[in-house]
Symmetry: C2
Subunit: 181 residues, 2 copies
DNA sequence: TATGGTGTACCGAACGTTTGGTACAAAACT
DNA sequence: AGTTTTGTACCAAACGTTCGGTACACCATA
């Protein structure tokens, strides 16, 4: 199990249990690594694991979301491409958002800066697409915020109602909602 | 400190830290009661505290949201009244949602049934208002889900961006969004 | 009116367990 | 041979929980 493979498993624990619920026992079990091995890869312990996981997500976002949004297709197509990858990373709405999970409790102040950056990068990239589609800057920003907001809310509702159809519905209508005149 | 006064303090801990983050030390400090004293009111411990807190919320919702939605005013006015109390309980978007916090991690399976009930009661009451306003049943349900979804998403975004204006915006436009033809 | 009994509210200290973290030698790989 | 990886054994601190006990208001009986 390489470090990168381990990180992928750590993600699923952090985003299911949050920072405080992600105990070393759970992290160890998920990765199949003993505590010694985890501390070999992450000498500063749990906090470094969470940081690594956040960095991994940041890279993923850049490659699988931001790059697409900056692409050369029609705005409508770029947003649809984003939707596909959003649907994938959240496992059709079954999995919680890592950013949301790490912004609660005592982990909030630990990772808030990085979380805010990632969130803003996403919103800004999306707003830029809308500007290119002809919307004015302010309105574009509001609509982009709205899109992320609806995705996050859909994930919360999907967990609370045990039903991912709200999430599917949000993703479905996202392109039209964002680009409507 | 009466039991009801204690519960009010417990709520703020559970909704800030979640179930696993809400340690007995924090709960004790928030209520001003010793750890042992908490067991006087809640013999079954932390799980009973969370249950009590959820029941308290359920009553609050019935009295401060559902009752208003079942009221006799115009649909537009009832929804606005709901918005006022929603804004109040979430402290203008500063405070997280207890239901969302208790539906993560290991607390999910402990409280899922009750959380689902409360959420559905809210959605159904809101949908009923929309039906009375002339919408067909299916569309009413979708829009009601959408409202709760946007509120939850706004709370997540407010925490992540450290900015409650998205939450304010969602509440502002809620009546018009729900009732538009 | 005094006396003894009962229930409620609360707390300090300790319980056994789990937490995040460390030390180190054996093992596995290069 | 030398480096990387890992299992085992630890640790202090914090975890949720329990125990024995105090303080005090209430209420019956004498």
């Amino acid at each position: 199990m390489s470090k990168d493979e381990a990180i992928a498993q750590l993600i699923s624990v952090f985003r299911q249990y949050g920072y405080e619920g992600a105990t070393l026992a759970r992290l160890s079990k998920a990765t199949g690594l003993g505590k010694a091995s985890l501390y070999h890869y992450f000498p500063k312990g749990k906090e470094e694991m969470a940081t690594a996981v956040l960095n991994h997500l940041s890279v993923w976002l850049e490659e699988n979301i931001l790059a697409l949004l900056r692409g050369s297709g029609k705005p409508d197509e770029r947003i649809r491409a984003m939707g596909k990858n959003v649907n994938q990373i959240y496992d059709q709405g079954e999995q919680a958002c890592l950013l949301a999970m790490l912004s609660i409790g005592e982990s909030h102040h630990l990772f808030h800066t990085q979380i805010q950056q990632v969130l803003n990068a996403w919103i800004n990239a999306l707003a830029q697409v809308l500007v290119e589609a002809g919307l004015e800057t302010g309105e574009a920003r509001l609509r982009a915020e709205d899109a992320i907001l609806q995705i996050q809310g859909a994930l919360v509702l999907a967990r609370g109602l045990n039903d991912t159809t709200p999430f599917q519905r949000v993703l479905q209508r996202l392109p039209k909602d964002l680009l409507k005149p």
